[in-house]
């Protein structure tokens, strides 16, 4: 299958390992990955902060970037960004009366999947042949859980990883407190939510806290790093891309 990667602006600029892992994983599974080079950002931060007028050109740019290439399905290693494409792009276009853009955005959204959705629903695989000899706990991010309804697909994938011990996270479905600009605008409340999330992560005794969103991991990881907790945050894609072959995780 020819799969278009929507790397997301955050992974592209700050967390490239998550995006490169997605490419390595999909290529290992025998698929061709393309990277539509015009892509930048889905505009979710603008929409969620109230700047829908500023988001409109980003929506148009995203649609054009993906329309300019030929591919079968698109994938992003982020429930949040896929949620934005699926639930916000057409809405923004319609707010400004651009019905044609809205329907193009809907067509694109219908072919855009979050990583665990792509693997389980489209490619029909739960065992991706990964090896990851660590104690891992998984935080199901809010937009994956409630906007996309990915359910336990990430856990199905993780359970099939060899060498790994998956430990259940208490109060897993509670938000980590990131929320984009919420973390700045309501810094104190955000920090209080993060403190509870970190407490639960530490309670598991895991070495690694994983999730399907770099943004949430940036928040949780930023807190765990400040605590000198010794717990690392690793994106789901990186775990799934790991194999026993030495150096494959480089």
């Amino acid at each position: 299958m020819k799969i278009a990667l929507f790397a997301t602006c955050l992974a592209d600029a700050l967390f490239p390992d998550c995006a490169t892992a997605t490419v390595r994983l999909l290529e290992r599974l025998g698929h061709q990955v393309v990277f539509p080079p015009k892509q930048t950002c889905c505009g979710q931060m603008h929409v969620n902060t109230g700047y829908q007028a500023e988001a409109l050109p980003l929506v148009r740019h995203h649609v054009e970037a993906f329309e300019s290439e030929s591919w079968d399905v698109a994938v992003a290693p982020s429930g949040s960004c896929v949620g934005s494409v699926r639930h916000q792009h057409a809405m923004v276009a319609r707010r400004y009366g651009d019905e044609s853009l809205a329907s193009r955005a809907e067509d694109l959204a219908a072919r855009t999947y979050e990583l665990s959705e792509l693997l389980v629903d489209v490619l029909g695989v739960t065992d991706v042949g990964a090896y990851y000899p660590h104690r891992v706990t998984y935080h199901p991010t809010c937009h994956s859980l409630r906007m996309l309804r990915v359910g336990d697909k990430p856990l199905q994938l993780l359970r099939a990883v060899r060498g790994m011990r998956l430990i259940e996270l208490p109060a897993a479905d509670s938000c980590c407190g990131f929320g984009g600009t919420f973390a700045l605008k309501n810094s104190d409340t955000s920090t209080a939510m993060l403190a509870d999330k970190m407490g639960n992560v530490l309670r598991t005794g895991a070495e690694v806290c994983s999730a399907g969103d770099s943004s949430c991991l940036m928040h949780i990881g930023g807190g765990l790093s400040r605590l000198r907790s010794g717990v690392r945050t690793v994106h789901l894609a990186e775990i799934l891309a790991s194999t026993e072959k030495i150096g494959s995780n480089a």
Partner: protein, 492 residues
């Protein structure tokens, strides 16, 4: 008979639905109160888990939610005619209907009605509408004592406190605090009373019983008003409401105009949705319904005051309108991670939590970004737990996003602030892959900030809002875009 609906003069809501400071400022104070954090965390976790279990027992829960949502949509679409029908039916059965545009008008109407009875004391059924209008304080100024009979409302009233939750207004108090409040405010209380819940409940019962037997006027809110019959309904857990609704001679009910349902049989849907969502009970203990006046049975004078207080403004907004579907179950509060930490008082309104974050600013309108209510739509991470819990499927996250856009758009004519400039700059950069790639390259200067440790621990304002409690990773040596170009050259 006239109605004010569709009137060209909009009335912004007034009363206890706008605080004095922004949500972040108010939340900062609540967050510092460790007792409050502990009380709230324990209470919301308990209610949350109970609700999940109660809802899981119903096979057709999702269908019920859709039915409740559809009924409420229908009510909003037909509100003017349903209100007229309701007024006709209440009047035909011996009741009197009054119309109030805002809190002030509602309070004045009710005060005049109480005065006409010659009484200077009223007993009250727990009511969000009267909390909204600040009726108790208004009556007090006018020499009328209003006694709350719901246990939690009584705790709030005797503690000279404000409610912090729709269903459990004293959720922020624990029993040791309640014991102290009772000892200070109940003259006949046993000085040796413990903080055993039963002992506290019995003390409240003795205190209230005297009031029930002497009061000649009662004031209630309403959970539902039935247009086709003129029936009103109140659901409650203690039976104190029923005492108020049946013992006094005069009953005055204040009801928001959105509380209508078209037909009596529609109650069937809501009587299933409400108790499981609010108290996690299969059926609520006391459901009182009354229709007009019946000689020799119950109150002989019955008045309904229909309250607008900004509701027609909300109705006029296609997206925000569904906030009026709310049946005040408070399920969204109990699942909200922001409410759980910041507490109800931080919202500055009698409607706290996710529903308050969309309802309060819509009712009052906002006057600019310094308006405390303008901060409420931002008091959410958009995690979506509220939408899942809402028994009438109010898409609170989408309305929050909509209200944020309205807020930003309303200020576009003024001088741009720091956030406006940052958002415009980010939009410009992200608007082109070349500019974005250039910005990525430039951002790698930020590696200096991270130093050898690879993490940024301190940034100037507004980045300090992040680094006050969280590290930030240094930008990587190579962006994904660059890695792709290096490793997939042939596919470019």
């Amino acid at each position: 008979m006239t109605t004010f609906l569709g009137s060209p003069t909009f009335h912004a809501g007034t009363g206890n639905i706008r605080g004095t400071e922004s949500f972040p400022d108010a939340a900062r104070k609540s967050l510092a109160d460790t007792q409050l954090r502990a009380n709230l965390g324990a209470a919301t976790t308990t209610i949350r888990n109970k609700r999940i279990a109660a809802v899981a027992e119903v096979d057709d829960w999702e269908e019920l939610r859709r039915a409740g949502s559809a009924l409420k949509s229908q009510v909003m679409a037909r509100l003017p005619e349903l209100l007229v029908q309701f007024e006709e039916n209440v009047t035909a059965r011996g009741g009197t209907v009054h119309w109030a545009r805002d809190s002030e008008e509602a309070n004045r109407i009710i005060t005049d009605l109480v005065r006409a009875t010659g009484s200077d004391e009223v007993v009250k059924v727990k009511s969000m509408a009267t909390q909204e209008t600040g009726l108790n304080e208004y009556l007090e100024v006018n020499g009328i004592a209003a006694i709350e009979t719901d246990l939690a409302e009584l705790i709030v009233q005797l503690g000279h406190d404000k409610p912090s939750h729709i269903l459990v207004p004293a959720i922020h108090r624990n029993r040791a605090e309640i014991r102290e409040i009772f000892l200070k405010s109940m003259p006949d209380i046993d000085a040796g009373i413990t903080d055993d819940p039963r002992a506290l409940a019995m003390a409240a019962r003795a205190h209230l019983r005297r009031k029930f037997l002497s009061a000649r006027v009662a004031i209630s809110g309403a959970n539902f008003g039935v247009a086709e019959t003129g029936t009103l309904a109140v659901v409650e857990s203690e039976g104190n409401g029923r005492m108020c609704l049946t013992l006094p001679d005069t009953l005055i009910t204040l009801m928001g105009v959105e509380k209508l349902v078209p037909a009596f049989t529609d109650l069937e849907v809501f009587m299933q949705l409400l108790p499981r969502s609010s108290t996690a009970e299969r059926m609520n203990p006391y459901t009182s319904m009354w229709t007009g006046v019946h000689p020799g049975d119950g109150p002989q004078n019955f008045h309904v005051v229909l309250l607008d207080n900004g509701r027609t403004n909300v109705l006029a907004d296609d997206v925000g309108r569904s906030a009026l579907h709310c049946i005040r179950c408070s399920a969204c509060l109990n699942v909200c991670p922001v409410y759980e930490r910041a507490g109800g008082h931080a919202y500055g309104s009698v409607y706290p939590g996710p529903i308050g974050a969309i309802l309060s600013p819509q009712l009052t309108g906002t006057t600019g970004h310094d308006d405390p209510n303008a901060s409420l739509p931002y008091a959410s991470t958009l995690c979506g737990a509220c939408f899942d819990a809402c028994p009438v499927r109010i898409d609170i996250p989408s309305i929050l996003v909509h209200l944020r856009a309205e807020q930003v758009d309303s200020e576009r004519h003024g001088l741009p602030g720091g956030q406006d400039l940052a958002m415009k700059a980010a939009g410009f950069v992200m608007g082109s892959e070349k500019r974005f790639a250039a910005a990525e390259t430039a951002s790698r200067i930020g590696r200096v900030l991270g130093g050898k440790k690879g993490r940024i621990t301190s940034l100037p304002y507004p980045g300090s809002k992040w680094t006050s409690s969280r590290d930030l990773p240094s930008p990587p040596k190579e962006t994904f875009r660059q890695w792709w170009a290096r490793t997939h050259e042939d596919t470019e």
